[in-house]
C-alpha cells in the first residue's frame, strides 16, 4: 500500500496499519481499490456540490497520522463517560470502539446475536466479510477512505426471526493523542429475515478543551442491512463539545417489507458531518428518519440525506429539525430519489430550522428527483425564529424571557425527541440541557 500518491492529502496514508484479517482475500482487494480511489480523488473541496457549504480547510491544513490502538486506560475512561451518559441504559450487549479500535466485548447472551469487534469477528469467520458491502463511489471520497482503510469497529448480526430483548450499544469514541490522529471505525449492523433489534450508536470524544486546530479526524462508516420483514430501530447520538472533526456515514439497505426507524441526534461539535444514504430495495420497504441537530458558537453541523426508492410501494418519512444559536452554522441537504419503476412510492421530507441569534446561519437544500409517475412525494422546509406571540403569552404568565425561550425551543425539539424508543430516553435529557445552554441570552 505504498503506491505513489496521486493527490496529496493531510493524512499520512503510508503509516496505515490494519489487522491482517482485513487485508486478506476479496475484502483486501476491495480495500486496496477503495484506497486508490481516495488517493486519486483527494479531499473534497468547495467545488464539490456535496461540500459547498462545509469547508474541510481545518483538516486540509493539518497532518494526521492513522490512530494506533489506544491503551486500556483510554478504553476505561471512554467506558466511564458512556456509562455516565446512558445511566440505567448502560446494560445489555455493548461495545466500546476508540479511534477505530474495538475493546473487549460484553456481548450478553441473547439468542441469535453475533456481536463483537469487527476485526476479531472477521478473523474467526472470514465469510462475514460478505456483510461489508461495497461502498458506492457516489458516497464520496471520505467514504472511500473508510472503505479502503478502516482499522476495526463493530459487527452485529441478528439471526433470522430473532428479537433482541435489550438494546445493543456501540460507542464510537475519539481520544486525542500526542500527534493529530485519523480514526477510521467501521460498524456493520445486519438483521436477517424477520429479526428485530434496537441499536444505539453513541458518538463521543475524549479531548482536552477547545484547541485551535482539530486533534482528531473521525471518518467513520456504519453499514446497515435490514432483511426481509426485519425491523431495526437505530438511534445515533452525538455528544456535544466534540472538538475534532467528525465525518460519519450511515449507509442502509432495506429489503422487502423491512422497516428502519433511524433517529439522529447531534448536539454540536467543531465540525460534524453526517451522510445518510438509504436504499429502499424491496417492495413495501419503509424508512422513518428523525433528525435533530444543534449548533452553537463555533460549531458547524451538516446533514446530508439521500433517500432512494428503488422498488414499488415504498414509504419514507423524514423529519429534520435544527436549532442554531451563537455563531453556529447548520447545513441540511436532503434528497429523495425515486427510480423509474418505483411506482406507488410515498415519500415525505420536512426540515425545520430555528435561528436563535443574529450570527447564526442555516443552509437548507431539500430536493426531489422523481422518475416514476404514480407517486406521492412532498417536501417542506422552513427557517424562522420563535413565535413572538407565544413568547408574550408565556411572559404574561410570569415566566422570564430565558425560561420562555428555553421552553418553546424544547417544544420545537420535542417532535423528534419524543419519537425516540424508550431505551434512548436519556438522549432527551441531554438535549434538554444543551438547549437550555443554547437559548441563554447574555443580559
Amino acid at each position: 500500500m505504498t503506491q505513489a500518491t496521486a493527490t496529496s492529502t493531510p493524512f499520512d496514508l503510508d503509516r496505515l496499519a490494519a489487522p491482517a484479517a482485513l487485508d486478506a482475500g476479496a475484502l483486501g482487494e476491495r480495500r486496496r481499490a477503495a484506497l486508490e480511489a481516495f488517493r486519486s480523488a483527494g479531499l473534497p473541496g468547495p467545488r464539490d456540490e456535496a461540500w459547498r457549504f462545509t469547508s474541510l480547510a481545518p483538516i486540509a491544513r493539518g497532518s494526521f497520522a492513522p490512530a494506533p490502538r489506544p491503551d486500556a486506560a483510554t478504553f476505561a475512561a471512554v467506558e466511564r463517560r458512556a456509562a455516565e451518559a446512558l445511566g440505567a441504559a448502560w446494560r445489555g450487549p455493548r461495545l466500546v470502539v476508540v479511534n477505530g479500535w474495538a475493546a473487549a466485548v460484553d456481548a450478553g447472551d441473547a439468542d441469535g446475536l453475533t456481536f463483537g469487534g469487527l476485526a476479531d469477528a472477521l478473523a474467526r469467520e472470514p465469510a462475514l466479510a460478505d456483510l461489508l458491502r461495497d461502498v458506492a463511489p457516489e458516497a464520496g471520497a471520505l467514504a472511500a477512505l473508510n472503505a479502503g482503510a478502516f482499522t476495526d469497529g463493530a459487527l452485529l448480526r441478528v439471526g433470522p426471526g430473532a428479537a433482541l430483548p435489550d438494546p445493543v450499544v456501540v460507542v464510537l469514541a475519539t481520544a486525542a493523542g500526542d500527534e493529530p490522529l485519523l480514526a477510521l471505525p467501521r460498524v456493520v449492523v445486519a438483521l436477517e429475515r424477520g429479526a428485530q433489534a434496537t441499536v444505539i450508536e453513541l458518538h463521543l470524544a475524549l479531548e482536552p478543551g477547545a484547541t485551535p486546530a482539530p486533534r482528531v479526524v473521525h471518518d467513520g462508516l456504519t453499514q446497515v442491512h435490514v432483511g426481509q420483514g426485519a425491523r431495526l430501530d437505530l438511534v445515533v447520538a452525538q455528544l456535544q463539545d466534540d472538538d475534532g472533526v467528525r465525518v460519519h456515514g450511515h449507509h442502509a439497505r432495506v429489503e422487502r417489507d423491512g422497516g428502519l426507524g433511524l433517529t439522529l441526534v447531534q448536539l454540536g461539535g467543531r465540525l460534524v458531518r453526517e451522510d445518510l444514504r438509504l436504499l429502499l430495495d424491496g417492495e413495501g420497504a419503509e424508512a422513518r428518519v428523525g433528525g435533530l441537530y444543534l449548533a452553537g458558537d463555533g460549531q458547524h453541523v451538516d446533514d446530508h440525506v439521500w433517500m432512494e426508492h428503488a422498488r414499488p410501494h415504498g414509504t419514507s418519512a423524514q423529519l429534520f429539525k435544527g436549532v442554531v444559536g451563537g455563531a453556529g452554522r447548520a447545513v441540511f441537504d436532503g434528497q429523495v430519489h425515486v427510480r423509474e419503476d418505483a411506482q406507488k412510492t410515498s415519500a415525505q421530507q420536512t426540515n425545520r430550522n430555528l435561528l436563535l441569534s443574529p450570527q447564526a446561519a442555516v443552509n437548507t437544500n431539500p430536493r426531489l428527483t422523481i422518475h416514476a409517475d404514480d407517486v406521492k412525494c412532498s417536501h417542506g422546509a422552513t427557517i424562522g425564529q420563535l413565535d413572538e406571540d407565544a413568547l408574550f403569552y408565556l411572559r404574561a404568565r410570569g415566566l422570564d424571557r430565558d425560561v420562555a425561550r428555553a421552553l418553546l425551543t424544547r417544544a420545537f425539539a420535542a417532535e423528534v425527541v419524543d419519537a425516540l424508543p424508550a431505551a434512548a430516553a436519556w438522549v432527551g435529557d441531554l438535549v434538554k440541557a444543551r438547549l437550555t445552554a443554547l437559548t441563554e441570552v447574555p443580559a
Partner: protein, 481 residues
Amino acid sequence: MSSTDLLDDLTRREYPHGFVTSIEDDQAPPGLNEDIVRLISKKKNEPEFLLEWRLKAFRHWLTMEEPVWWPKVSYPRIDYQSIIYYSAPKPKKQLKSLDEVDPELLRTFEKLGIPLQEQQRLSNVAVDAVFDSVSVATTFKDKLKEMGIIFGSFSEAVREHPELIQQYLGSVVPYTDNYFAALNSAVFSDGSFCYIPPGVRCPMELSTYFRINAANTGQFERTLLIAEPGSYVSYLEGCTAPMRDENQLHAAVVELVALGNAHIKYSTVQNWYPGDKDGKGGIYNFVTKRGKCAGKGSRISWTQVETGSAITWKYPSCILQGDDSVGEFYSVAVTANRQQADTGTKMIHIGKNTKSTIISKGISAGRGQNTYRGAVKVLKGADGARNYSQCDSLLMGDRCGAHTFPYLDVRNPTATIEHEASTSKIGEDQLFYCRQRGLSEEDAVSMIVNGFCKEVLRELPMEFAVEAQKLLGLSLEGSVG
C-alpha cells in the same frame, strides 16, 4: 382513444409556428472573434463606450468555461464558431411607417397573430417586433412618447438616449455574470428598451415579440427596462421559431430596474420550437433574467409560461435591495417529448422587510425532464425578510421526470422562510369525478391541468392568459390516458 393513441396523436402534432419566411437577410459570416464584435457594433453605429463594453465582455467570455455541471440537463456541446452572430432582414433603411416594412415580414407577424398594424388599436398592446436579431417595428410609439415613455428597439435607444444606456446597461446583469450573459454582452444585436418616467402609469401593455427565422443563427437580444420612482409598467414577451433539424441557440439577457415604489410586471410566454418527438432540433433557450428592486417599496413580478424550447435554462431573479421591496415569481413549465427544462428563480433579500413569493408549477409528459432550481438568500442586514415558496409537479407518463432543487441560505434570525413542494400524478379520483359528470377524458385532463396552473395563469395579463391556456392545452393534449 387509448392513451397510446392519444400520445401518438400529440407527438405527431406539427408545431404551428414552424414555417420559414423567405426574406432576404443581411448576415455576418459565421464564427466569433473580435472582428465580428466590431462588425456588429459598426453596423449599428454604436458609440465608443458600447464597443468598449462589448470587447471587454468578449475578452472575459474567452476566459470562461461553458458550464457543464447541470445534473439534470444534457445536450451535445455547442460549436460557437459555426453560429452566425448577426442576421438582419434586408433592406435596412430607416422606416417611416409600417407601410414601408417588407410585406413578407408583416405577413409573418400576422400569421403569428401579432398585432403590428396600428388599426388594430382595440388590442391596446404596444408591440416591438424583433425578427432574428433586429427590431423591425414598434407600434404606438407616438402615443407613449406623449407621456414621456420611451419604448422601442435597443439600438434606437443607444442612438437617442446613450446616457440611459450607459448608466443602466450591465447594472443588474454584469457581463461577468455567467457564460451566456458574457456571450450576449459581446454580440447582442438588438432587443427592446423601455423607460417609464417618475410617477407614470403606463396605460397599455408593452410587448416584445421575438422570432428566430434564419438558419444557423443565434439570437442574442437584450432587454433593458427602467421604471422611475412611483411608475408602473406591465411588459409582455412572446417568442417562436421555425422548425429546423439543427439546434439553435438563444441567449438573451433581460435587466429590470425598479426605483422607489415602482412596480414592474414582466410576463413571458415562451414557445420556441421544442424539437420533434425524438428530440431532434429545437431551441436552446439559455437566458439570464434579473430585476433589481433598487428603491424602497419597489416591486418586480415575473410570470412565465414555458412550453417551448428543447432546453430551457432560465432563472428570472430579484435582487431585493430597497427596504420593503417585493419580488414575485410565478411559473408554469411544461416539458413533453424530450424537452428539458431547468428553471426557477433567485430571491436575494438585502433590504429590510423585503418579501418574496415563489409559485412554480412543473408539468412533465412523455420523456420530458422538468427541474425547479431556485435559491432564496437572506443576507445579514435583511431584518424581517419573508419568503414563501411552493413548487408543485405533475407527472404524466412513466418515462418523464420531475425534480426540485431549492437552496435556502439564511443569515438573519428574523427571517421567515417557507418552502413546500409536492410531486404527484393526476389523481384517478379527480379524473373519475369529472368523467362521471360527463366530461371526456381530454376535457377532464385539460381542466385539471388548468386548475393546477391557475395560481400562475391568473397573474398573466388577459391577452396572454388566453394564449397561455391554449398553449397548455396544445402541448399536453393526449398525454394522460
